[in-house]
């Protein structure tokens, strides 16, 4: 195996980054400060390249579908044409008005339309799925209805108590449960970070981590 693919190199780089970023918060050493400022900038550059890789991967996969999968050919063709068209108008000087028009009048309308379908799903779910089958479901149902009524601007004029009840549910019940979830998630992140540091956690290194 090529030495550059050795697992230990990848794991060492990961552990080094963790140790530097951690220590820079507790120890005042100029070299550590410098590295801890540089590393986030490098990760921004890497993330930008990841976007590019995603676009190329989308292009390659859909080109493959156009060639080999007749059933998906029309959709992949539309995607490829849109991708190439937007890439050209976004990057070639003089096409800015076309880019702006396409984004503001085509893309915005399409995404808004897809999002607005949510309203239909919510209503049909409210009729069919939100049912008080048992005590837990009934408690959730009652609190759902009270929060919805508290959020309805008109109901504040009918009875101010709706807003008071909604605020209590959100600021007491909801906050208490969210805090529990956030604290346990934070403990999980700490444990995961420590496992990465001591090379116990290798899953996100992909195939390199499996060796």
């Amino acid at each position: 195996m090529s030495w550059i693919k050795r697992t230990e190199i990848t794991l060492t780089i990961g552990s080094f980054a963790i140790v530097v970023m951690l220590l820079s918060n507790f120890v005042d050493i100029p070299v550590l400060d410098f590295i801890s400022k540089i590393l986030p900038e490098w990760s921004v550059i890497i993330a930008s390249f990841a976007l590019g890789v995603g676009a190329i991967s989308t292009f390659v996969q859909n080109t493959d579908k156009i060639i080999n999968k007749p059933a998906e050919r029309p959709y992949s063709l539309v995607l490829i044409i849109s991708l190439v068209f937007m890439f050209i108008v976004a990057n070639v000087k003089g096409f800015e008005p076309i880019y702006k028009w396409t984004v503001n009048n085509v893309y915005q309308a399409l995404t808004g339309t897809v999002s607005s379908l949510l309203a239909f799903f919510i209503l049909t779910a409210a009729i069919r799925a939100l049912r008080g089958r048992n005590l837990n479901a009934s408690a959730m149902l009652v609190s759902t209805v009270l929060v919805i009524l508290g959020n309805t601007p008109l109901m504040a004029g009918v009875w101010s108590g709706f807003e008071t009840i909604k605020s209590w549910i959100m600021q007491v019940m909801n906050t208490a449960s969210k805090r529990g979830i956030m604290i346990s998630a934070a403990v999980g992140v700490l444990v995961m970070g420590f496992r990465v540091l001591i090379w116990l956690e290798r899953g996100f290194y992909g195939r390199l981590g499996e060796e």
Binding site: S48, V103, R128, T152, E163
Partner: protein, 270 residues
């Protein structure tokens, strides 16, 4: 009643109940919530000339929900001579702001002096960490290709140490805002939150780290506070009717469920 018929009726009802108030607004009353009032009062407490960071971490699909609070908030800042350095941590954020800026009251305000648009930075929280330390180490031009050295506003700001407030939109990255900006630099975070993200932000609100507006209703309330009616207030009728329709659907669905349950008990099937 067949399920298919129920679905058709529900969809038709939704279409009518939401369509009519959009075409003919009723002007139903709304009240201002404590959350929105807190945001308004905090902005009022800032001094003229203060600089804030603002990031629009949302996409075009959320414009109907977060557009009104963004427009109202930026208008309020400009009226109080607060300067804005805007960037985005989502791919569409800069485009969203470009789409909304024509609706903002910008009379007397100049790009480069009163606000600057830096564009998209990939990496989310790591990008935010770098921007908090130094903008000029990250980028040398703005979203439009202008040199940062040529923009008067950028002479007074380079990192989070130079700002008075951080403003985020949507709310999904609030944990990152607090970790990279709020706590290290002891800054208040304001989030113009989506209604779906707001419940997750209440622990931060109760801890005093974050102030929020909630969804398009928060935008409507903000428009009332700054006395500039806009799309938010025009949407409150739709919100009221839509919410009541959902509650009606819940009551209807549960009535059917209870009726079937009672019938089954009578027949001895339960």
């Amino acid at each position: 009643m067949k399920e298919f018929h129920v679905r058709i009726v529900a969809v038709a009802l939704l279409f009518i109940c939401i369509g009519i108030p959009i075409i003919y607004p009723f002007g139903l009353p709304i009240s201002v919530s404590k959350e929105t009032l807190d945001v308004y009062n905090y902005v009022e407490s800032l001094n003229a000339g203060d600089i804030i960071y603002m990031t629009t971490d949302t996409g075009f699909s959320q414009i109907p929900e977060v557009g009104p609070p963004i427009v109202a908030f930026i208008t309020h800042c400009f009226r109080n001579d607060i300067r804005i350095v805007h960037f985005c941590l989502s791919t569409e954020g800069g485009l969203v702001l470009n789409f909304l800026m024509p609706s903002v009251e910008t009379s007397g305000k100049t790009y480069g002096v009163d606000w600057v648009e830096l564009g998209y930075f990939s990496g989310e929280e790591t990008a935010l960490a770098s921007l908090a330390i130094s903008i000029k180490d990250m980028v040398s031009v703005d979203f439009y290709g202008n040199n940062l050295e040529d923009l008067p506003l950028m002479e007074d700001v380079d990192g989070a140490k130079d700002i008075s407030l951080f403003v985020g939109v949507a709310g999904a990255l609030t944990g990152g805002y607090i970790r990279q900006i709020g706590d290290p630099f002891d800054l208040m975070i304001i989030v113009l939150a989506r209604a779906a993200n707001a419940p997750a932000l209440y622990p931060y609100v109760n801890a005093g780290q974050v102030k929020i507006t909630v969804g398009v209703r928060g935008g409507a309330e903000y428009e009332m506070l700054i006395n500039r009616p806009g799309e938010g207030l025009a949407t409150t009728d739709v919100i009221s009717i839509g919410h009541l329709l959902v509650v009606g659907g819940i009551i209807f669905g549960n009535s059917i469920f209870l009726y079937e349950r009672v019938n089954k008990k009578r027949r001895g099937e339960l």
